[in-house]
């Protein structure tokens, strides 16, 4: 399983972020928090040696994603990598994402079995949802958008529409559950559009993109599937939305 290392100057901060990540990524997530210096790691700071040890603890051939706060945490993370043999360090990715957003995005991706490249990319782009929510246009944030509507053939077999009535909309945990289910169909491309707010389509396997749709209670969404097993995927996703995400 891909490992995740969370580095902060503050031990408490790193551990708090770990709790958030576990909530989304599950209890068996291979994740570790590191930070603080001095007695009981009580003082603010980071060291290359403790970061190196943390990476070693969660290391496997699946690779490790490292997220950090700022300043010396960045320099020390680079230093820690240089302490490892090349064949190992090439499987360790240092990610420039914001710590909290990056950790949550990475946790969800690891849970759905994404590759290290994909986990890295999702974490890297993880600020988008918050920025869009606060009014920055998606185009300003990234030019890596999923296919346009015209690229997805709309016909009755490959999509369904449904109104979300969950009080939090398609956010946070409901979104994570949707992404997890969508991720279980590796050969099917799944897209979600917020019909009510005319946003999307976006990849249904990306928590960041899905959250950026801003689906609130009462919004109608369209779920489109393209590729092998698209009917099964749609049935499963509809079932998930109707019986678990939507409240009766």
């Amino acid at each position: 399983m891909i490992g995740i290392v969370l580095i902060s100057h503050s031990r408490k901060l790193a551990e708090g972020v770990l709790d958030l990540a576990r909530e989304m990524g599950g209890e068996d997530l291979n994740i570790i928090a590191v930070g603080g210096v001095g007695k009981n790691d009580d003082s603010l700071g980071t060291t290359a040696t403790s970061i190196h040890d943390a990476i070693e603890k969660v290391f496997s051939n699946d690779g490790v994603l490292v997220l950090m706060d700022l300043g010396s945490a960045v320099i020390n993370a680079e230093f820690a990598l240089e302490m490892m043999p090349k064949e190992k360090s090439k499987k360790v990715y240092l990610c420039g994402a914001s710590l909290v957003e990056g950790a949550v995005a990475a946790a969800v991706q690891v849970r759905i079995g994404a590759s290290l490249d994909k986990v890295f990319k999702e974490a890297q782009n993880s600020l988008a949802a918050k920025q869009i929510q606060l009014g920055v246009s998606e185009l300003e944030i990234n030019n890596d958008l999923p296919p346009t509507l015209s690229e997805i053939k709309e016909n009755e077999e490959t999509f369904f529409r449904l109104v979300i009535n969950n009080p939090v909309g398609l956010h946070a945990r409901p979104a994570a559950r949707f992404v997890e289910k969508a991720g279980s169909f590796p050969k099917t491309n799944i897209f979600v559009t917020n019909i009510t707010r005319k946003k999307g389509p976006v990849s249904g396997k990306s928590i960041i993109r899905l959250t950026a749709l801003g689906v609130r209670q009462g919004d109608e969404i369209q779920v489109t599937a393209v590729g092998d097993n698209s009917n099964v995927a749609l049935e499963d996703l509809r079932n998930l939305l109707e019986t678990q995400i939507n409240e009766k």
């Binding site: 100057h9 210096v37 603010l44 300043g71």
Partner: protein
């Protein structure tokens, strides 16, 4: 005149003492434009260095410097840990197995260390960092030792150049480190990292002669 391993130890002990005396001063400088921990961090780091040195009294210069580097890397919380750690680690690579250094060897080792710092911090001259004291010092040291200056005079020149470099950081706008968050407002304050580097060269001019 050569630099023996005992002189290297004397240099490190002198520097540790100077840092301890200037702990509050460095932290005050850092509280103006940084995170107010530079004096505390450097003192903590060099206390760890001194502790480890007692177990390595008989070692060669490369080993002494490597022990110093590792103590800093594993005990200092701020960026000064990996930066000074890299300086000593690079110096240790140039001095492996040696029990004494000529003035040329010392110059080459310091230059390698300073280049390591620049690489680690991805910083350049004028960024308002420790490099603004170290780079002029290396230049002065090279001009001295590659020329006709004897070691004490060359060390003196390096220390004076570092002092000037440190003072020059006052008017600079920080481009690296925590001070860079302040942008233009970082001007008007002396850089704490340049100050601790100046003190390191001051210790060298006292201890290595």
């Amino acid at each position: 005149m050569v630099i023996t391993q005992n002189k290297i130890i004397k240099w490190l002990v002198t520097y540790a003492d100077i840092l301890n005396e200037n702990k509050t001063y460095l932290t005050e400088l850092d509280s103006e434009i940084g995170d107010a921990d530079h004096g505390i961090n450097m003192d903590r780091g060099f206390q760890a260095v001194i502790k480890n040195l007692h177990e390595n009294r008989e070692a060669d210069i490369g080993t002494i410097l490597k022990t110093t580097a590792m103590a800093l890397i594993s005990s200092v919380g701020g960026a000064s840990g990996p930066l000074y750690g890299t300086l000593f680690l690079e110096m240790s690579r140039c001095t492996e197995g040696k029990v004494e250094l000529s003035k040329i060897e010392w110059t080459a080792a310091l230059e390698a260390g300073v280049k390591g710092v620049a690489k680690r911090g991805k910083a350049f001259a004028g960024d308002k960092t420790m490099l603004d004291a170290l780079l002029p010092a290396v230049k002065a040291l090279k001009e001295g030792t590659y020329g006709t200056e004897e070691l004490p005079l060359a060390l003196q020149s390096a220390y004076k150049a570092a002092e000037q470099g440190m003072k020059d950081t006052i008017q600079m706008v920080a481009k690296k480190g925590r001070a860079s968050y302040l942008g233009e407002r970082s001007a008007g304050h002396q850089d704490p990292g340049a100050t601790s580097s100046f003190l390191m060269l001051k210790a060298a001019s006292e201890a290595l002669v």
